[in-house]
Amino acid sequence: MPSHGLLLEAPHVLDPVRGIEATISEIGRAELASALGPLIGRLHEVLGEAEREELCVYGMKLCRRLYSNARSGDALPLARAVLFQGFLSRAVDIERGASTVCGLLAADVGDVVEAVEHYVNALRLAGDDRLEAGAVWNNIGIAMRIAGNYEMAGRCYQRALDLVRSHAAPFYFRYVTCVNLAQSHFQVSSFADGLRFGEQALAEQTEEFRDKDPLVALLLRRNLVRLLVALGRVPEAEAHVAEATTLADRIRTPRARIAAAITRSVYELALGQTDVSLTRLENALSTAREVPAALRDTLGSMISAEETAGNSERALLRLTELSDLVYREAIEQARSHMEFAEISSAIPSNADRLQEQARARLISKRSPAGQPEGWGALERLAVTAVMRTDATGWHGKRVGALSKALAMASGLDPLQSLEIGLAAELHDIGMVSIPEELAGKKGALSEREQAIVMRHVDAGAEILRDDRHPRIFLAREIVRYHHARWDGCGYPDRVGGKFIPLAARICAIADAYDELVSGLGSRVVKTMDEALAELRREAGSRFDPELVARFEEMVRTESEDLGVDLASTSGMEGFQELVNALQEDRGFV
């Protein structure tokens, strides 16, 4: 640890952190937070240049260390503090660096929305610097991949690549981006394109690059093997398999061993050596149980291997295991996400907090109405959850706007309607618990798969378990019952008719309408008129017939007002206009 002269000037700020530096991977969350407290507090003040530089550089370094120790959530408040300091002192370099770090950390804890917000800020600060902008786009792609939207991720990588196209070869960043692109193209089944990028990456790879991060090189080989096998060019894959094994022997981490095993098993499966391949995967899986980061990928490979081998029963068994895993992880992540949101919202300086508390006390004396605590975090989580299927992430918002209008049209008070609309934005929050393989799957699902998807209502209800605020309670009812059918054939519990909470009945109609018009869930895009007809057909069986009539009336009058033609505008165009009009604040609720 370097002992700077500055240490004497501000010993109280960094001392506690330096004290725990050695044990940073195993120290408790509360202890870590209290050690970081003084540093974070100091970063919220106006600092001299030298001290600012020292603290910011140290803070960022610490964030990176926490990130690689899988403690992103704990690092986030610190990264935000550095960002704030950069903003405060108008130090563009610090601000940009901190934005990127914030984005990385936020994406790592599953808050893709916040991550993208930070990256957008970084992008703005990058200005004309193509290299910086490219790096940011690459990071956005990674965030999209975490959200489970590979198509979007691919587009972001492509953008990053376009920005550095003219850079002289060999160029490490371009190499990494190509590896990412090959991966995302594989996930969306455009194998030929994927192979093209994989080969480009291989051409760009040098000895130095390979030694810099051997795991990336290994992943590249794995991608190449998968792509070649998928294209039926099995013999060409052999060299890559051998190379992957060599690399894994050199790295000697469990993660590398698993990746190499997957690579080899894919190849063997293609050669028809089913038993060898499955046994190899079996072994990899037992290793992966010790390495949480690799478990999802391994299970995914296992499922497709069993499917290829024709063991559909066993594939389903693995799928159930995978979905259990994802379910548990999602709930856990959502919970810690909420905790972080509460911690970090409490961090800004003491004076602010006292003032805030005083204000809260005053308000609570007179009027309890207001936003529930942690609502922002829930909203972001919901956006992340729908991003798998809807690249814009606006599905929730649109359903919220439609629900509000329908509630108002069915005679509820404006404020009640507003609450229903806000709560309905969360209706698909439970989708975080569904493996990407299923959430983004095109075509019909098998019965077992459907059963897994159905569980998203339970997951959502569990995430919203703390109903300390009426709106959270409302949101939980919506989440739980928005797939219940009027005739009682839906899930869960076969609730039907007026036993379904009104808010959930309202949301069900809005949800279905949005899916029909925007073509979510790989449906055919319908015009607004056709979608209304579809709703009408299912009134009385799936939907509350009275509400469907109200909904149709609402959509018709509102679009007539806007001059939107229901019959001719297909897809989002006129629909988006309608939703915008419903959301607009003109001094009305």
């Binding site: 109405a369 049209a409 009305f588």
Partner: protein, 322 residues
Amino acid sequence: MKATGIDTRGRQMLELLAEGASARVVARKLGYSEGTTRVYLHNLYKQIGVGNKTEAVIWYLNRSRAQEQRPAQGLPAPSPQPPTIPAQAAMSLGDMSLAEDLYTALGAMSSFLGPYGYVWEAGLRLKGESLDEKGVARRAQSRLLWRALLKGDYAYAKLLSDEGHAERMLQDSPSDAMLLACLLLLGGYSSASEKVVGALGGKRKGAGALTAREASLLRALAEALEYDEGGLAALHDMAAENGRSPVVKQMAMASLFQVYRSRKDAERARSTAMALWAEAESARQQLDAMGVRPLAREHALPRPARAGAKEPGAREKAAVTR
């Protein structure tokens, strides 16, 4: 009318104006030349402190009603029309809004109505948003316009549009532009209102454009002011509509009140005012259910600082001493 020092000529002119006469008609009836009449009218406006004919008529109608309700003065003021207010109902909100104006009659309840009112404020808090400086300014402007509509203060709108604020409102806030257009129409400022309505009509799409509902409110209002019964019926339908944005409905109600009032249809104007009160009351109850109570009755009457400490007999003693 002695108190205000209006002479007979002034009163005669006001009477004629209240019946809807133009300057030319006034000149013919009173036997002056048109130019002289204009000078007299101008002096009269200055004397009673108004800016134009409409305001003068409103001033006069308010005055004459107030006189009617004060029999103690015993002034047999020549009324422009037979008294329309039955004595036993003279204290109702509807009467008060006819005698004074809607704003005075509704009092604090008017804050529950119109754009950016209490309901909107509660909604903002539910959404977890807060107002920035610009939002505060826009809100204040909207509330002023809304108040002007309730008061029948059309001159305010004319002033705003003369000073060139109309363009800014068209840009910033469609609801404000909409209110401005209503006010100008009601005030009979035909050229100014044409300009605003035209500009609003020109914007068909995007943020800042009127919705068809607002546009048809304007159209209905314009027709109703031309004594078109179809327009009046349309305005009434909008004021009675449920299940959509209540604010447009309230704008329609307030406009309807002013139209009935200008037509001297006291009965209907009174009922409209009462309906607006009921609307405000329902908004108040909604807010109450959400726990927002701007007019809560929970505050106890404070005791005087010294009287509280004394024993109950103190007052009696004081009485005896006296």
